[in-house]
Symmetry: C2
Subunit: 220 residues, 2 copies
């Protein structure tokens, strides 16, 4: 591991969360521009310019030129490199219901360097069914296949009541990063990363914002 | 608006994000207990006990009793009240593909006081199709129906390229809170809340955690 990598892994989680937003902007809105300033990016995303400047300085391979900014192409490459989008990482998914199928069909993952290599379910009526080119496999085959392919990322899209069992199965199979979409509180051992995609949490934030807006308008 | 409501809307967004986690714990792990301490909750969620104590103090209708804690039932009621789970709020959804169908079928929203009252799509092959008891309606009918029913929450599950158009349509129809699942940067006017459910952002955080773990294990 070189110093640069070590610095990158210490970047604050809030900065990491902003990187995909910068990248989308460079790919869409600024795709026709040669240069872009951190102020222009901050304006487009409603962020503080100093925050954006710091974020970009942490990943840019060349410093921004005063009054000119960054080369859009180079900055795009730098962020893609930082986010690991240039190397495809395989993941496995357990739970091929509606949400699992939605993720299997989601076009955006390929752009983020993520490939869902296999999908599993416990419901035998789904075995052999093909979703977006992926055949649904019996969950009995999970451990063996994941170990053989040395897959590190697991996605959980089963009902909440089954999520901890699936999580334990993933840990046994050597999965090191779990992306949980089930509405359940999961426990993982040290050395395994867990990211909860909890819709009730997002909804709580949105509802609170809505409450503030309606109170302000006096129509609460 | 009374003082209590005003205080609630000022609670930091990070506290709000933790409330659904506390509630899930009270409903599941502590559902059989009569009392629970903030320390026990903090332990179960791997959080700092002082943070949990402050969060609970902000929403609890009665203070915790030293060495005893909070009544599980009362605390649960208080958090449900705070999160607005006792009043059902109607929402509308645009984009009835896989992800839209997954959200229509998602059992968890009813527990959070959210009801997706209607779903729309622009694809006429989907018109009349019923997903989880909801008939898919043509998007032409959106503005009229949303205004008539005075719906305030809109969920966007269309492809990224169409998301801003749908967002503008929602704003015109009087929607005040937009929950965006499309991979697109949306612009909303002042007075409209926007929550992006951006999978590439979550993936960036998870990938970074995985990188740290594999570097630590020396198998990068």
């Amino acid at each position: 591991m070189d110093t640069e990598q070590r610095e990158q892994s210490r970047i604050a989680v809030e900065s990491i969360r902003r990187m995909p937003l910068y990248l989308r902007l460079l790919r869409d809105k600024f795709s026709e521009s040669e240069f872009v300033t951190s102020v222009a990016i901050a304006d487009a995303l409603n962020l503080n310019a100093i925050v954006v400047k710091k974020d970009l300085a942490a990943v840019a391979s060349a410093p921004g030129v005063p009054n000119v900014g960054f080369s859009v192409k180079t900055l795009r490459d730098d962020i893609e490199e930082f986010l690991g989008y240039n190397n495809t990482t395989d993941a496995v998914l357990v739970g091929a219901g509606n949400l699992g199928s939605a993720l299997l069909s989601y076009g955006g993952f390929a752009n983020c360097g993520l490939n869902i290599a296999a999908a599993f379910d416990a419901d035998e009526r789904l075995f052999g069914k093909v979703v977006s080119g992926k055949r649904i496999l019996p969950v009995d085959k999970f451990e063996n296949l994941v170990k053989r392919l040395k897959i590190r990322i697991g996605i959980i899209t089963v009902p909440g009541a089954h999520a901890q069992n699936v999580c334990d199965l993933m840990v046994r199979a050597g999965i090191k990063a779990i992306w949980n979409f089930a509405p359940a509180h999961l426990t993982v051992p040290n050395g395994v990363a867990l990211k909860n995609e909890d819709l009730s949490v997002s909804l709580a934030v949105l509802s609170n914002d809505l409450k503030k807006i309606t109170e302000k308008n006096g129509d609460a």
